[in-house]
Amino acid sequence: MKRTKLDLWVGIFVVAGLAALAVLALKVGNLSTYNMSETYQLQAHFSNIGGLKSQASIKSSGVLIGRVAQISLDPKRYEAKVTMTIDKRYQFPKDTFANILTSGLLGEQYIGLIPGGDEAFLKAGDEIKKTQSAVALEDLISRFLYSKAEDSKQPNK
């Protein structure tokens, strides 16, 4: 069996296809920035998670440090139980504060961690005690509208 011109063309085709896949993975996708091989899990209870979804990002000081692994409703406390997968390189104090934030006014929601001052660190499987729920935009708007209505009731004294 000898090499032919055909093999060259097929070789070019296969190499180009694999190169395209590599470009998609590295340049388009997040394979280059996303290497969380070593992780640990934390939990937190929120009274309202708003529009938080699994796979949502977890940030501290704006840096991506993990992903939401699972969201479920705790049947005893009637609160949302969020399991978070966090990069092992980052350890957080016991009194860390977990906030559900929104990127931009209408962007997607993520969990922001604000570290406290405790000397002891959270271990795998621990729960973040201090949490703040998502800000529901509807509530804010309705509160604003009601206060406006109150104002306009006594227009000129």
């Binding site: 055909l6 085709f13 395209a20 388009v28 796979q55 699972q70």
Partner: protein, 264 residues
């Protein structure tokens, strides 16, 4: 026609359709059964890779670029209204990698390579080359059909990756170079929005499934074609129609399984 005749006609059509499905399933199993030869004598598959994969390159690359450019234009027009032009990158990349890349590449592949396969096999049957091979105790399944099948299955994901990559490039040309969306936010939004596992791998799985479906349909139609000029032309048409519909149907099924949104 009387009612009885109508009923008889309807019944015959249904029985024929079921019969054909059964025959097609057996044909598919036979392809897998006779696949050994296409890997032992890989030059047979290489030859088919050339005629189905390499020859489809130009159309895939050109079509991908233009689809990406259109996505860039249209996406920009819509996103501009909400002041979210910076999300153009993730819009272009997500729609290409998840849907348009696999589906459009498969549709182009079906009409470019699938129809050629059907016509080739059908004509071989019409000119009794297949019977001649059987007479020489050469299995046409192993020698003709299986290499074409594997060539199609191998080249489909590669073509779809090329389509998506060219599409992203087209979107980049229109969005960043011509319109002037910020280059940094274009790429960073894209990387933030596209997940390797969830989007790219699933897109590749899709195109693999499409490759199996398109080549299997094309080969079956060719093999099953009536050995006349009219029969071969009809089979070629059926290949394009059936495989296009199958691609779109399978795409719906696969999307429903893969991207169920954030619902846990």
């Amino acid at each position: 026609m009387t009612t009885v005749e109508n009923l008889r006609f309807l019944g015959r059509r249904i029985v024929n359709a079921v019969w054909r499905i059964g025959y097609a399933s057996r044909f598919f199993i036979m392809i897998l059964f006779y696949s050994g030869t296409s890997f032992r004598r890989f030059h047979l598959t290489i030859k088919e890779l050339f005629s189905s994969g390499v020859m489809s390159l130009i159309i895939i690359l050109v079509a991908g670029t233009f689809v990406g450019m259109v996505l860039g234009l249209q996406g920009y027009e819509t996103l501009k209204r909400y002041g979210a032009e910076s999300a153009l990158g993730s819009l272009v990349a997500l729609s290409l990698v998840r849907e348009l890349g696999p589906v459009l590449a498969a549709l182009l592949f079906a009409s470019r390579a699938g129809s050629a396969m059907t016509a080739e096999i059908g004509l071989m049957k019409a000119t009794e080359q297949i019977s001649a091979m059987e007479m020489m105790a050469i299995s046409p399944m192993a020698r003709l059909v299986a290499p074409r099948f594997w060539a199609g299955v191998i080249s489909m994901p590669l073509l779809s990756a090329l389509f998506s990559a060219m599409g992203v490039f087209g979107g980049y040309v229109v969005g960043v170079v011509l319109i002037g969306v910020d280059q940094g936010s274009f790429w960073s939004q894209m990387q933030a929005g596209v997940d390797f596992q969830h989007d790219i791998v699933n897109g590749m799985i899709k195109s693999f499934v499409f490759g199996v479906a398109v080549t299997a349909i094309a080969l079956f139609e060719g093999y099953d074609a009536p050995p006349t000029a009219e029969g071969v032309s009809g089979a070629t048409t059926r290949t394009v129609v059936e495989s296009s519909l199958t691609i779109l149907f399978l795409d719906f099924i696969l999307t429903a399984f893969m991207f169920q949104g954030g619902v846990v």
